[in-house]
């Protein structure tokens, strides 16, 4: 899995690309947790993901908890039905603030 990073409205936006599954969810979580020590408010854009499983969901929930603990925030971007369905199936959609566009997600921290 490739993990892209860009800055939008002064907030880092991380975009995992490919599959986020049991084979790489641990590494993804570690890399994001390292970033959270420097950046408290982050966006994870799931638009480039082809596949998300329950291990990926677990990683996102863990990152969300870490952001909360650091008094920061995590916003998700999700455009694809198949990824959103996994969020809904696990009810993780009720935990996250989910946006259609990365710019709107990053901008929401400024309000």
């Amino acid at each position: 899995m490739k993990l892209n990073k860009e800055i939008l409205k002064t907030r880092p936006v991380f975009s995992p690309e490919g599959r986020l599954d049991a084979s790489n969810a641990g590494l993804f979580k570690s890399r994001l947790n390292e970033e959270i020590t420097a950046e408290k408010e982050i966006v994870i854009d799931l638009s480039r993901l082809e596949f998300l499983d329950s291990s990926g969901i677990g990683a996102l929930i863990s990152i969300h908890r870490k952001c909360d603990k650091e008094r920061g925030g995590l916003k998700l971007v999700c455009q694809h039905d198949r990824i959103r369905k996994v969020l809904e199936l696990t009810r993780a959609d009720r935990l996250f603030d989910i946006y259609d566009e990365a710019e709107a997600a990053a901008g929401s921290f400024l309000k």
């Binding site: 599959r19 599954d21 049991a22 084979s23 596949f51 499983d53 329950s54 291990s55 969901i57 677990g58 990683a59 929930i61 863990s62 908890r65 198949r82 996994v86 199936l89 696990t90 009810r91 993780a92 009720r94 935990l95």
Partner: protein, 142 residues
């Protein structure tokens, strides 16, 4: 007529994608030559198989580095049946608690997701093999 497909992978996460794609492509072959878009069905089979194989690999006996996971898929015109077999300690899907979804746990979703996706899920133990059998009919629950 029922077509049977077979795959065996080493019980390691680096091969998870292979098994997952096997489920996706097997399900897609049910619709070859048809115009209808069955992405929801085929992607659900990919996810269910991915979760089942992940469980098998995660619960591999650490003393059995050479262990493998076997996937058998039976395709009939209106139904897919997937069997995932491993030689781990005995496992019964009915004994796996449903996760407390409202407390958003970080793990424990796999079997729950399989049961939500598939029409029928059963586990059995035969000659030292755990066998998770799951099936779904076209037009079954969404």
């Amino acid at each position: 007529m029922t077509d049977r497909l077979f795959m065996e992978i080493p019980s390691r996460l680096k091969y998870l994608r292979l098994a997952s794609n096997f489920g996706l492509n097997a399900a897609r072959s049910m619709f070859e030559g048809e115009d209808s878009d069955q992405n929801h069905f085929t992607e659900s089979m990919e996810l269910a198989l991915n979760e089942a194989v992940t469980n098998s690999i995660r619960h591999r006996n650490p003393d059995s580095p050479e262990a493998s996971v076997v996937v058998e898929i039976s395709l009939s015109p209106r139904e897919i049946t997937i069997r995932v077999k491993d030689t781990n300690s005995p496992f019964d899907s009915e004994m796996v608690p449903t996760p407390d979804l409202d407390s958003h746990p970080e793990n424990g979703y796999g079997i729950y997701m399989i049961k939500e996706i598939m029409d029928k899920v059963e586990t059995s133990r035969e000659k030292g093999w755990n066998i998770l059998t799951m099936s779904k009919k076209l037009g079954g629950k969404q």
